[in-house]
């Protein structure tokens, strides 16, 4: 046992003292923030790019009100350029199309001759991205122009228009039996995705370190000296635990920092980041799925590493294993949309998926406790199997030099 502790201590200190750990600890949250709120922030950034739209107003009555509405909405990232048409409408459309094709303008819009009776519009574009412009800017603005004109024609008094246009108002709060506090569902989703991403990235990052470390130990010919001092299983456990503790330390630092920030009350991308609203149940699951997910993948990565002589050799095997983490990320939206459907339930019980999917369900919904506990048990069983398998791979492969392994030799080592 003390030998395992020696290995743990060495692997842990080696990692925690490294520059990479310091940099990772500092930059990790930044990276995570970019990953979670980045797409939204980036979206806002692109929307503000100015675009020019050529407008051919066949009715002649729409262009001015449209400009007016856009100005009123302070939507100034779209510039409209008006085109006049001669007696031949078709010729004007052809010219406009040519302009769009020549990229003089970003898009073209032809407003029907009898717009207020038959609101027909034709939109020309060369890039699919212009669709965003159509849907987010032009369509609502033209709808408003149409509405105002029709109110006018129908003689609706100004004070009733507001009343007619009223929308339902929503407040969304997520309730759960475990947590007394109600939290805003938006914050819930952001936090859930952040925590899932932490599990995903950390399990892969630190799990794969086991593979590289074992291969390094093999290629530096260190392994035989080590094996004369301790059993392969002890070496395996020492490594996996030591590296895992370093991962846990990093997450603990982030969590602590997160709590300190929450107390200060900091808002990112409009949502207040607050870790204090999470229930102990959720924290427990975060810890359980993080630790168990790490152990499952790390020991298998280490086993693969023991069979291989170079990282390149290992790639074909490790890729299949990595898939076990990537697939649930792809399935994440399915689970968020319908966290309690049979599909999500079954997927989240698959041990290789549950660190991501069951945890996702715990954060966005409130799955029955028996399901959560069942996934723990299944995971624990799989870890037990994975450790045995990794031990076999270790014994079979650790002194194997020269030939690169095949699926067949892997299977043979496992069936021993």
């Amino acid at each position: 046992m003390s030998k395992v502790l020696t290995v743990i201590r060495k692997e842990y200190l080696e990692r925690v003292r490294s520059k990479a750990f310091l940099v990772g600890t500092l930059l990790g949250p930044l990276f995570m923030a970019l990953l979670v709120i980045g797409p939204t922030a980036l979206g806002n950034l692109t929307r503000s790019q100015e675009r020019t739209v050529a407008v051919l107003d066949l009715s002649g009555d729409v262009f001015e009100p449209l400009v007016e509405v856009l100005r009123k909405n302070e939507d100034n990232h779209v510039k409209l350029r008006r085109y006049e048409t001669g007696p031949q409408a078709a010729a004007g459309v052809e010219e406009l199309k040519a302009r769009v094709l020549a990229k003089d303008v970003d898009a073209g819009l032809v407003i029907g001759a009898d717009f207020f009776a038959q609101p027909q519009l034709t939109f020309y574009n060369t890039a699919v991205s212009a669709v965003v412009l159509r849907d987010e800017t032009l369509r609502p603005a033209l709808n408003e122009v149409l509405r105002e004109e029709r109110f006018q024609r129908a003689g609706v008094p100004a004070d009733q228009r507001e009343y007619i246009l009223a929308r339902s108002e929503w407040t969304t709060l997520q309730l759960s039996a475990a947590a007394e506090a109600a939290q805003s569902a938006d914050v819930g989703i952001i936090a859930a995705i952040t925590m899932v991403m932490i599990i995903y990235i950390m399990v892969l990052l630190y799990g794969q370190q086991n593979l590289t470390v074992v291969i390094e130990e093999k290629s530096s010919r260190m392994v035989e000296v080590l094996l004369s001092s301790l059993r392969p299983e002890q070496l395996l456990v020492g490594k996996v635990v030591g590296i895992g503790l370093a991962a846990l330390t990093q997450v603990a630092i982030w969590t602590l920092a997160g709590f300190l920030v929450s107390v200060q009350g900091v808002a990112v991308a409009g949502a207040e980041i607050s870790l204090t609203v999470f229930s102990p149940w959720l924290w427990l699951n975060f810890l359980v799925f993080f630790v168990m997910g790490y152990f499952l993948y790390a020991s298998l990565y280490a086993g693969i590493g023991a069979m291989c002589n170079s990282v390149q050799d290992a790639q074909q095997f490790s890729m299949v294993l990595t898939m076990g983490m990537v697939i649930p990320i792809l399935l994440m939206m399915v689970v968020i949309r319908a966290p309690d459907q049979p599909m999500a339930t079954i997927l989240s019980l698959v041990p290789f998926f549950s660190p991501i999917l069951m945890f996702m369900r715990v954060t966005v919904s409130d799955p029955p406790i028996w399901q959560v506990v069942l996934s723990w048990l299944l995971l624990a069983l799989t870890i037990w199997w994975a450790n045995k398998a990794a031990g076999k791979l270790f014994r079979a492969g650790i002194l194997l030099y020269g030939s690169s392994p095949t699926w067949k030799s892997l299977a043979r080592a496992l069936s021993r």
Binding site: T6, E14, R221, S229, R231, L399
Partner: protein, 323 residues
Amino acid sequence: MANPAEIRELPAIGEPLLLVEGLSKRYGETLAVNDVSLRIPRGSIYGFLGPNGAGKTTTIRCLMDIILPDRGTMLLAGVALDRRRRDRIGYLPEERGLYRKMTCQDQLAYLAQLKGVPRRESQQRAWRWLERLELGSYAKSKVDNLSKGMQQKLQFAATFIFEPDLVILDEVFSGLDPLNIELMRDLILEQKQKGTTILFSTHMLAEAERLCDAVCLIEGGIKILDGSLAEVRAAFPFQMVRAVYRDGREPPADLPGVVDRRQDDGTWRFELAPGIDAQNMLAPLAAAGPLSLFAANRPTLSEIFLTAVRRQRESRTSDRSER
């Protein structure tokens, strides 16, 4: 001492420290080690000899529990080898390396701890060893910054740092330059003086002859002979004659008393039947032509080895033909 509670009862000097009985290991079709028994006296340098692929490393790995033997018993000081006992055995494998990014002192300390030396003491011992090997100024540098020779010293230190009762050195001289071979030999002899028993495996028989007190020769997984150097020599009481003709001609084919003859590098070597005096050879050889060299000597270890292997093969084929 690694563990103060542990009582190290060792046999007297000269009594067997390590006993191996009937060790066998099969890899698929090939029998890598075939019923090998060893008796390694305490305080000796024991040469475990044989050509490459003879089964030396396999035997050693079985001793260190790195691979599992199919059959056989292994006793250290009369007790079956287990993990705790193996903590008393140092092992320097042929394929040896170091953690390249670790400092010298940490490296030695880590390897000592893995053999059960307490943490604080392991650092002190590492420091003492580095000083002794004149690597003190490198204690805090990474192994990457060390020359090959320094790394060899470090590996050597790692093998001895926990004061083992038995040390197994597998092909310790392979890949070393003459200067480093000399250094290693001095270190090995120094450790022997301190009473450490050393199992020394090599395919370089000349080195073994200079260093070892007792030897075991194996070939094709089978033990050919073993015993102290004196015993081995006594078992092969023949003489060798070397001769070179000035004009490089071949010696006569019908020399009396010659059991085996071979030529290497222009020199003819004759193995004489036991009891035949080398002097008897001079006249018939000189009669055939002008000699530029005639020498008689007792066989070297490698000559004994070749003879023993030949006899073994002959007896095997005759066994087979009798059946």
